[in-house]
Amino acid sequence: MWHRTDWQRLKPWLGVWEQQRGPLFAGIMLMLVTAWAGIALLGLSAWFISAAGLFVVAFDIFLPGAGIRALALIRTVARYFERVRNHDLVLNWQNRWRVRLFKGLMTLSVTSTERFRAARLLQRLTQDLSALDDLYLRILGPLLVASISAVVLGAAFWLLHPALAAVIWICSLVLLLLLTTVFAQRLRRLSARELGDSEYLRQQAVEFVQCKAELHAWGVLTPAVREVAQARLQLGQTQHQLRRRLSWLQLALEGFGHGLLIVMLGLAMWLSFQEAFSTPLALFAAFAVLASIDVWQPLAQAMLLWGRVQGASERLQGYLRRALELPSVHPSTDENRPQHAPSIQVSEVVIENRPLTAKSLSMTVAQQQLILLKGHSGCGKTSLLHAIAGLLPLQQGKIEFRHQGQPIARPEFTLLTQYTHIYSATVASNLRMARTGVTDEMLWQALEIVELADDIEGLPEQLDTWLGDGGVQLSGGQARRLALARCLLHPAPLMLLDEPFSGVGVAQSERIWRSIQPLLKGKTVICVTHQALPEVGPEGSDITVDPIVQQDFELCYDR
């Protein structure tokens, strides 16, 4: 636990602590008050009973009784406030960490953020984030309280006899060093292995569930069953070892505490019989030690959690680092991107994420032209779209934008990605994501065009209905149409649509395709689709676009 790298790894998360020194200090003070009230309570009770039973000292009999009651009350109240304050503090930090991590993810390139859609990765991310909670509440807090308590208890005993203080200080120091070095290290290794084994089991389980169809067809499920069983066995063994070690550590801590209790009690009684101090004070000391065992108990768990927090912190930073290392091109964040519908010249382009067999591609899109890209799946339509949007780097060739013959920078664009994401938010805020400040009326118009207006009208709170988690679930086709409406609201002069009608019925997509034409007017539009869309020509009154259907689009590799 004393390695510098351990602490450096935690540095980004510890930053928020410095901003909140006051509440942090109060939280730790409350922890200490709770612990000390408990220790004093048992000690005072023992002193009172032995003083009363042994008649060795004269005392005001009402004072200890009042003290006992007061300490009991203080402990209860302090514990309550300690828990409330500290949990509030941790939840507050958690929130800041989450925002911090999110801001970090935001600075990544668009293509590398595609990675974060994987359910497993997301789950890991949120788990790791909440694992950081333990750092204060269950690791550093208890460790600090145990250490300070040992120092203070020893100091109090010094007043009785230096030997008692020496025993407490030496034993606590040894215990603390053992815990934070040897035990922490061992538990950490095991818990890292546990994580690896459980990831392996998960992987095997996923594979089994996915390959079951094939193996079932062949009538040979056994080998796959055996592999999952093997992974289960491995995880079971590691967890068994980890739990065994943790329970031994807990038992050892308790045994050590009880040993210390007997030594202290024996020593204190012997000293009191030597007339060093009165016998009730000896019992006070011994029972204070008994109560302080409770303070040490959580430390076994803390050492296990230390390893987990370290792992979590490392992985969280790893996500950010790894994603940053990916080759990436940021979409221009310049506010002053050209607002003119461009012509696009794609010359001999080879896109990097395609295999080497890819042929280079050239094509021209005229200003304010609507072009449909067709071709079989996997031939690179989406990649070309992303390259035009500047989300994928080019290996060779170039893509140029022009306006009335003059070269311009990449104009503002909107891209309907293949993957539909409807945010957990209201219908209106889902739509306004593309363009803030549009009126409800405009939202309804857009919904009308994609034939969603009736559906949304049927929802309980209409535009304010919550979608996604904890709200209304849209069907695949509805979600797609909502995403399309969102894109249509965007004012950009260059529109890139990737399979706008996947999951939407043929008849409906044809109707919608016709009715969105007026909105596409004056824009340069590239639309990837596998489906035959009706030609929208001059018969629509004021449609001036010239649709070119580029059949059998060939960015594909040589087959």
Partner: protein
Amino acid sequence: MSASSYLSNLQHQLTGSLWRARLYSAVHGLVVIASMLALTWWVHRSVEEATVHLASMMLALAFFGLRAASGAAAQNACQTLGEQAEQLARDTLQWSWQQAEDGSTAAQIERANLMVEPVERLYAYFARFQPQLWVACTTPLAILLVVAWLDWIAALFLLLSAPLIPVFMALVGMGAERLNQQHLATTQRLAGLFVDRVRGLTNLQLFSATDKAVNDIAGAGDDMRQANMATLRIAFLSSAVLEFFSAVAIAAVAIYVGFALLGYYSIGPAASLTFFAGLSVLVLAPEFFQPLRTLSAHYHDRASALAAADLLDREQRRAKKFADYSVPQHGSDLRIEHLSFTYPGSRLPAIEDFSLRARPGQLVLLNGPSGSGKSTLLKLLTGQLALSAAEAHQRVELPCMDHIAYMAQQPYFVFGSLADNLRLVKADASDEQLHQALAFAELTLPLETSVYERGQGLSGGEQRRLALARMHLQPSPLMLFDEPTAALDGSTARSIIDAIVGLKKRGHIVLVASHEPEFEAVAEHIIADLSGGDHVAPH
């Protein structure tokens, strides 16, 4: 309801271990009491003799040794119980997977996850909550008896305060529950927000809506914190009340004992209370309340185990419903008449009124886009999905056969040699047959070549060729190919297509799901869309 029956079923199967864990934990509780008494006896004897009394010190040491041993035994028994429960749950889950029908791909990952975290939640329930339930009865009862024997008035204090604890726990617990229900929708919404925004990060960046998203997340986090704190406050208050009552009782006992020792009371046992009895009552009083407090701390283990049991139970019931399902077989043709299929929970059918009759030596090509029902049909044919019985005219018949040769999109490979991976489908194949199969698939690698998990060690093309060799080694009247040429270069794809055509010519019914245009020339049946119109990918 079903979740608790799943748990009680597990409990029933673990009766032996459960009783051992309970017994050991209860015995440990008694040893703890005995060790405390031995400690006070030592103090009592030492004070009496005005010297550190060695014999009773040894006794105390022995009891503390025993306490450590019984503690170890109890922990061991509890751990064993928890691990057995985990193992049993995993066994059942695996059995369920072997039996159950396939759902959609998205659900597959979720189902696979059941093997890890949800099962682990059962551990805490069995290893901690269940034995503690027992200890929370036995230990307080034993302490009450001992204290009553030492001084019945002190016991009366404990007895009177004890029932207050469950009453207050229940009262406060219900309050927390109600509060939780109130906030449920909000907390669910907020909890998912971060994940949701990360998942949709690409779009946020494209729309330059990142600042707003950061605000959303910060705001939601703050609301979430307040909602959580409201519930936590109640929970902390409940344990504070619990602690308050136990502290009041302990303080009352301590003060009573002190005054009795001073001779202030002349009633009943108080008049003759010894120092030993007084000190013993004092040390036992906190132990009286401790098991109840531990139990309330483990209470959330029960809630999370119930949630996990619910998921596991659902999987088990799916399997029971589907066990022994098989697709009917008849004659030598593949016959499908008026087949319709809708995934449960989906509005639109994945396959609608689809008919097909394929004879030996014919090739059926499914070349529709994703979501057009291809994989659903393959699952129905291989018996991974059950036909709905409701459709009267619906009929699916496979040719008579004992297995289906099936080349999946991502073929399954075992860790081992090339030969092991071939013998996976035909255990008694001779080396000669293996060589023939490899030659058929034009795979020129020695039989000893190592294959790692998920086919690592082989190139994409080699993996397909190996899967193709399996098809030749153990053919069947109906052979299924799922995207056999996806992501392969031209010449490899060409040779795989030729091999598939070869199988067709030998009189097998070959069903291929592929976008490869080359198949169109050799197919007898070309099916672009099975879903008949508005198709929606099942989720």
